[in-house]
Symmetry: C2
Subunit: 350 residues, 2 copies
């Protein structure tokens, strides 16, 4: 354990909490990963437990009293500079106390952090499509405007949830005789009712033929799970699209159109500021990402488009930006690229 | 207490359970009303408790051992003649035991019962729009085909839920600057954020002006409630439509088109069999009902269109149909029209 000064950055999402500790020159010292920690979605106690676990891992073998500044990015964190009004604010304060972290803790929007993960410019736009979808405009490295991000029930058009729901609707339409044949039907049945196909193969002239899968069976399975589980089916649209299925291609086309509309709502048509893409649907090589990029190239041909991947590193960078001297390009390079950025092995939009 | 023979009919919905006891000539002897009793939605224990309460009221002062046949209409009851595979089947069996009812109990589909409530024909179609929406084809007074009824997340197009969600989306679109002005915006804000308007009136030059309501505020309120609560906003679409609001008119038009599509999927274009309309959106004088009726008159000009209102009486009628002599027209008249049919004082699509 040394007494070198540290900063701590956290990227708190609905399904994973990531923490990163670094020295003032941007050298990574420790990292942590825990379950989701969004207090709005998961409740303050589970959120605080995830936060504590990720912080504990990141500071293992380090002196918590040496931490000079903490930045935490989380959904809805934008309007909460001190975290006082945060759902779970008290529980979070206890985490810092018990971890021995005594410096200021700043709560920021996860979308702003995703923007900073993609660029060191002060101004630009972020387009995010993961489980949900939204766009923000950034000015002076602060949130200036926002569009969509209205959640799965009323918005998030073009998100992983939206794609997964469209996949099920396409399969239901075919099964109900209301829509065209599509490769999605078999993929959705295989994913939602993994036994159904085996049952059918096992049917012999001696056994009763099981009745074919109906739209109703898909509904029953989907309704038995939390709605957001539909986001897990988003990769099926990409798979069917790769096989040139016209229904899947048209879903991808609509998703991309929705996302570009969401971005355009917060971006001047002639803006030259950078665009950052974030969220698993846009940071993985999906057909939605390819289509969005093609439209962006057409509409803003001269604009830099980058990926916002490492939210914890971006939170560290924002923490360093609060201290002196301000971080420079070399530091950013060291911080973001000394380790490979975190990506999931399997594309999972949740 | 006399020893005259009785039958018992139940209409078990998500928000109300109605029971009716009658003599074999169709004279009403007792009725009961309790909370929702759908075992799929509410769990077997709450469902059984509601059933027990409604049955207890209907049989108060009557001899339960005199009941010759029971018919229970409930969602998903179609494939469950004995109720054995019913979620809550065991709990339901205990209700009959404790009530002292020892005759056969038959579980039928709530939609079939709604059809029988509207006509004594053996064949025809039912179009229902309440909280949810579906259509069925009836042959030999049994369920022959079904369309939609796929629930709020994946279907129920043109239902109360669907109307309520469209109202909120229209308000959000105006607030986000993405959609036209509509009378729905003020109605939705008043309904979801009853304090917001008062706050604004209370703002004086001496107090800080409160920030205007944003789409986000509507999202937060909606997401804090169960999704089906959106059905409570359906009357707002009707109110705005009555005031000739073009956005509301277009929502009503789409709802009616969806419902007619749902009906057409289970009905031959040249069928002369009757059409029964059920569910609060279609049995109340709403603009959706008016529009649907207009389309039906155009498409099936010679066909009788009636309302399926009294599900408990229809269940009694089906129970009598299992006994001898079969019920005749005079009995039906007595059973359905000796008391006013049950209607809600305030239109509430839930």
């Amino acid at each position: 354990m040394t007494d070198e000064a540290l900063v701590l950055g956290l990227d708190v999402g609905g399904t994973a909490t990531r923490a990163l500790a670094a020295t003032l020159d941007g050298t990574r010292r420790g990292s942590g990963r825990a379950a989701g920690g969004n207090p709005t979605g998961l409740g303050p106690r589970r959120a605080a437990a995830a936060l504590a676990e990720a912080v504990g891992q990141a500071l293992a073998g380090l002196d918590p009293a040496a931490v000079r500044h903490v930045v935490v990015g989380l959904a809805g964190g934008a309007a909460l500079p001190g975290g006082e009004d945060l759902p779970g604010g008290e529980e979070f304060a206890r985490v810092w106390e018990q971890a021995g972290v005594r410096c200021p803790v700043e709560y920021g929007s996860d979308t702003l952090i995703a923007f900073v993960a993609g660029t060191d410019e002060l101004e630009g736009s972020l387009l995010l499509s993961g489980t949900g979808a939204c766009a923000i405009a950034v000015k002076d490295r602060a949130l200036a405007a926002r569009s969509d991000g209205h959640g799965w029930l009323l918005g998030d058009r073009g998100s992983g949830f939206w794609l997964g729901r469209q996949a099920v609707l396409a399969a239901m339409a075919e099964l109900d005789g209301e829509g065209p044949q599509t490769a999605l039907t078999a993929l959705v049945i295989e994913s939602l009712l993994p036994g159904a196909d085996a049952d059918r193969r096992a049917a012999t002239p001696l056994k009763a033929t099981p009745r074919p899968v109906a739209a109703r069976d898909l509904v029953t399975t989907v309704m038995a799970q939390p709605p957001l589980s539909l986001a897990r089916l988003a990769p099926l649209v990409c798979a069917a699209c790769a096989a040139a299925d016209p229904v899947a291609e048209s879903i991808v086309e609509s998703a991309a159109a929705h996302l570009v509309t969401t971005l355009s709502a917060v971006r001047e048509p002639r803006s030259m500021t950078p665009i950052v893409l974030a969220g698993s649907v846009l940071t993985h090589p999906t057909p939605v990402a390819a289509r969005v990029r093609a439209v962006l190239r057409e509409r803003w041909p001269e604009v830099a488009v980058s990926l916002g991947l490492d939210g914890a590193a971006a939170a560290v960078w924002l923490a360093l930006d609060r201290l002196l001297p301000p971080p420079d390009g070399a530091l950013r390079e060291r911080l973001f690229f000394s380790d490979p950025p975190p990506t999931e092995e399997v594309w999972d939009p949740t």
